[in-house]
């Protein structure tokens, strides 16, 4: 494995709890959830399932981005543009001087939230035809790259709920292998009728506020948003003099190979992803200060993830919480958003509370952190993202130390 260190120099987040990273941080500190009645998406299920919408219409997003109202971009793209711009700005903008910059984005919905409106109207309404080539996942990345003038390498990952965590991992490897100097990595997903009805058909939605790890949990609340982080090589940081916020020291992606949509209850998938990230970093499990878990609130995930943690930490599980009761499950954006929350945990010495939890499940003897913890020395944070198709990813973030001891 290459010894190149990967530094994080920019953060961007747009979710139901904030238009930017600072607003998200304030909501996390204030225990302010963004889950509520669906108001922007027009769906038959608006009264039935709470969700965490970004409280900005497409028009408002375009205004914030300086785009004309007539510009045709999907909501997924607009959300992504906002968060990616924020991360890029914090990292000092796109540098010239020969530093190769890439955009590694992720999405599950792609342009679906907009295309589902027009899909059967294309043949009779020529004005809608511009959306034909904007349904696929890559389209949002292409538009974001154009908006930010990122040219050297772009691609899109779509592995369900682990998508943007995988984008971060891939960005790190593109840097380690010498293909890029800087990689803007993350993901975006807008709420759509397609996903709402899809998750409903799988009976994975909660009609109340989701309560990850609780014995009475019934399912997840969907969310929408975008989360991006800027990764830079050591050499790049030397040249750009960007402020280092944290370091990405380990990562792993493994496959459960158990079932197309369910995780194996013994938590093997979660275990191998987390232990893989630790091994990649050469960090022992007793060093972990906080785990931002995948914690969707579904019976299957939370059981499986708990078992994985129990095995890995030999029942001495560090403080952990799910931030999905705040933001909802943002699907393709979850890994990116939660990477931002993990870095904020390090920067501010906080462990975020896992809202709505009351009673432990029977399978394990531990539960998530329910109180906000502050003034801690947080050195290592694990962030989990597990997706359909048995796709399990764990990222390990560390407080920046000038030289490795």
């Amino acid at each position: 494995m290459s010894s190149q260190r990967i530094f994080i120099t920019g953060l961007g987040a747009l979710t139901a709890i904030g238009k930017n990273v600072d607003e998200n941080l304030q909501s996390l500190l204030a225990r302010k959830s963004g889950v509520g009645r669906i108001e922007i998406l027009e769906t038959e299920h608006a009264a039935e399932f709470p969700a965490a919408e970004v409280k900005l219409t497409d028009t408002a997003l375009k205004v914030a981005l300086g785009l004309d109202e007539s510009v045709k971009e999907s909501r997924t793209t607009l959300l992504g543009m906002m968060a990616a711009t924020e991360a890029l700005k914090q990292a000092g903008g796109k540098s010239s001087g020969g530093l190769r910059t890439g955009l590694i984005s992720a999405t599950t919905v792609g342009g679906m939230n907009t295309t589902e409106e027009y899909f059967f109207r294309f043949e009779h309404e020529p004005d809608t035809q511009i959306w034909i080539d904007k349904l696929d996942c890559g389209d949002s990345t292409k538009s974001i790259a154009k908006y930010l003038e990122i040219k050297d390498y772009i691609t899109t990952i779509s592995t369900a709920c682990s998508s943007s965590a995988n984008a971060i991992m891939h960005g790190a490897e593109l840097i380690k292998s010498g293909i890029l100097d800087k990689a803007l990595c993350g993901g975006t997903d807008a709420l759509s009728r397609f996903t709402l009805n899809g998750f409903n058909s799988l009976m994975l939605l909660e009609k109340e506020w989701c309560r990850p790890f609780d014995i009475d949990r019934k399912g997840l609340n969907l969310g929408e948003g975008a989360g991006f982080i800027m990764l830079e090589s050591e050499e790049s940081v030397r040249l750009t003099k960007s402020r280092i916020l944290a370091e990405l020291v380990g990562y792993a992606n493994t496959n459960d190979a158990f079932h197309q949509t369910a995780a194996s209850p013994d938590g093997k998938g979660a275990y191998t992803a987390m232990s893989g990230a630790l091994k990649c970093a050469g960090v022992s499990s007793d060093k972990i200060d906080y785990i931002n878990v995948h914690g969707t609130g579904t019976p299957n995930n939370d059981e499986s993830e708990s078992m994985g943690m129990k095995t890995l930490f030999d029942n001495q599980v560090p403080p952990f919480s799910s931030t999905k009761p705040y933001t909802g499950h943002t699907l393709g954006a979850a890994g990116g958003v939660e990477a931002v929350f993990s870095v904020l945990s390090i920067l501010h010495g906080c462990v975020w509370p896992s809202l709505n939890f009351k009673n432990k499940m029977n399978e394990v003897d531990f539960g998530p952190q329910t109180e906000l913890l502050t003034n801690l020395d947080i050195s290592y944070v694990l962030s989990n993202s597990f997706g359909f198709g048995g796709n399990n990813t764990s990222l390990l973030f560390a407080k920046y130390q000038p030289s490795i001891p």
């Binding site: 589902e116 899909f119 696929d136 397609f194 198709g389």
Partner: protein
């Protein structure tokens, strides 16, 4: 980067070339605006009970993946990486129709589950019980290139020795009609072997699944080296593209003059074919030049077919007549440049080298 070898290949395409034993035929001819695959008997690769529950794209992907592994004489890769431009579009459309027609009251989950774009890579892992790295790239004409780039990284700085990598996209009627509205396809039915003589706009649509086993060690059955890979995602003039290719060749420690054959994405569109010929002329006018899209049609991961073809040419040392080359390579074929793009964007360059 370390030396990367293509040690196994497989293709399900409109040609009868899925017999990985090496006997393939490129002589299927069509008179159509779109080409669809000659499909194998899936029971050879998948349990019949499971076949019934799988979407077509899943069957194609799983089978092509297994064929490539068998071709490389191995069972379990260290990573599975798939690229697909449109993903599981057929099931996406099915679920969308269901949702709209029932006014959001329908509750059958099967199509939704199968619409997740990483279903193919996930299903391959399930079939092989492969617990390793598993990624899916969904980025238009860069989807397969992204997968192969990732595979090369795994084989160089990762711990992988063998990576199963593939590109797959399927024909979906409604999407074909939609792209027709955008003017992508020929208005008239056309013989595929006359594609490059056509003087009209548009091209023919296609589909396919091409899978590869990439390794960092050669085997007695290796096809060739994958010596370089690059993307250029914006639009570019022919001379800008020729410059990009020049820089690409330099990064592979070679010059454009070392290219023996260019396999390019010419596609019979009178508006754009001249571009490819101009690129050929600027890069190396004495290199051989052939198209491949008359054999497989145009689809986001069609570069997979070009790579499959190039690998076969390098291993056998000769070009099948059905490639209908514009000009023949002179002498031994050692270096093949595969250059493709998707309607003026998402340019991809690959260098294949004889071992």
């Amino acid at each position: 980067m370390k030396n990367i070898y293509i040690n196994g290949i497989a293709s399900i395409s409109p040609q009868s070339n899925w017999d990985h034993g090496g006997d393939f035929s490129l002589s299927n001819t069509y008179r159509s605006r779109f080409l669809t695959c000659v499909e194998p008997d899936y029971k050879q690769f998948i349990n019949p009970i499971q076949i019934r529950r799988m979407s077509r794209i899943m069957k194609m992907g799983v089978s092509a993946g297994k064929m490539a592994l068998a071709d490389a004489a191995m069972e379990l890769p260290d990573a599975i990486i798939v690229g697909t431009g449109l993903g599981c579009l057929d099931d996406t459309e099915k679920f969308l129709v269901q949702m709209i027609e029932s006014n959001e009251m329908s509750s059958a989950p099967t199509s939704f589950i199968s619409s997740t774009h990483n279903s193919v890579s996930g299903q391959i892992a399930l079939q092989l019980k492969c617990l390793s790295y598993n990624f899916t790239y969904v980025h238009k004409g860069l989807s397969l290139m992204s997968s192969l780039q990732d595979a090369m990284i795994k084989l160089t700085i990762g711990n992988a020795k063998h990576v199963l990598c593939g590109g797959i996209d399927e024909h979906v009627d409604v999407k074909f009609r939609h792209y027709d509205l955008l003017g992508w396809w020929k208005k008239e039915e056309i013989s595929n072997v006359q594609l490059y003589n056509s003087k009209t706009q548009g091209t023919i649509s296609g589909e396919g699944a091409q899978f590869f086993v990439l390794s960092n060690e050669p085997s007695p059955a290796s096809y060739c080296r994958l010596a370089g890979i690059r993307q250029y995602h914006s639009s570019a003039s022919a001379s800008e593209m020729a410059n990009q290719i020049y820089e690409f060749m330099l990064s592979c420690d070679l010059l454009p003059g070392d290219i023996d054959l260019i396999i390019s994405g010419v596609n019979g569109d009178v508006k754009t074919d001249a571009y490819f010929h101009e690129v050929h002329r600027l890069v190396n006018p004495v290199a051989g030049h052939t198209g491949f899209k008359h054999l497989c049609g145009t689809y986001y991961t069609a570069d997979g077919f070009a790579l499959w073809l190039g690998a076969n040419v390098l291993k056998s040392g000769s070009m099948p007549a059905e490639t209908l080359p514009f000009s023949l390579p002179q002498g031994t074929i050692r270096n093949i440049l595969v250059y493709n793009q998707f309607f003026g964007q998402d340019h991809v360059m690959y260098l294949l080298q004889a071992i």
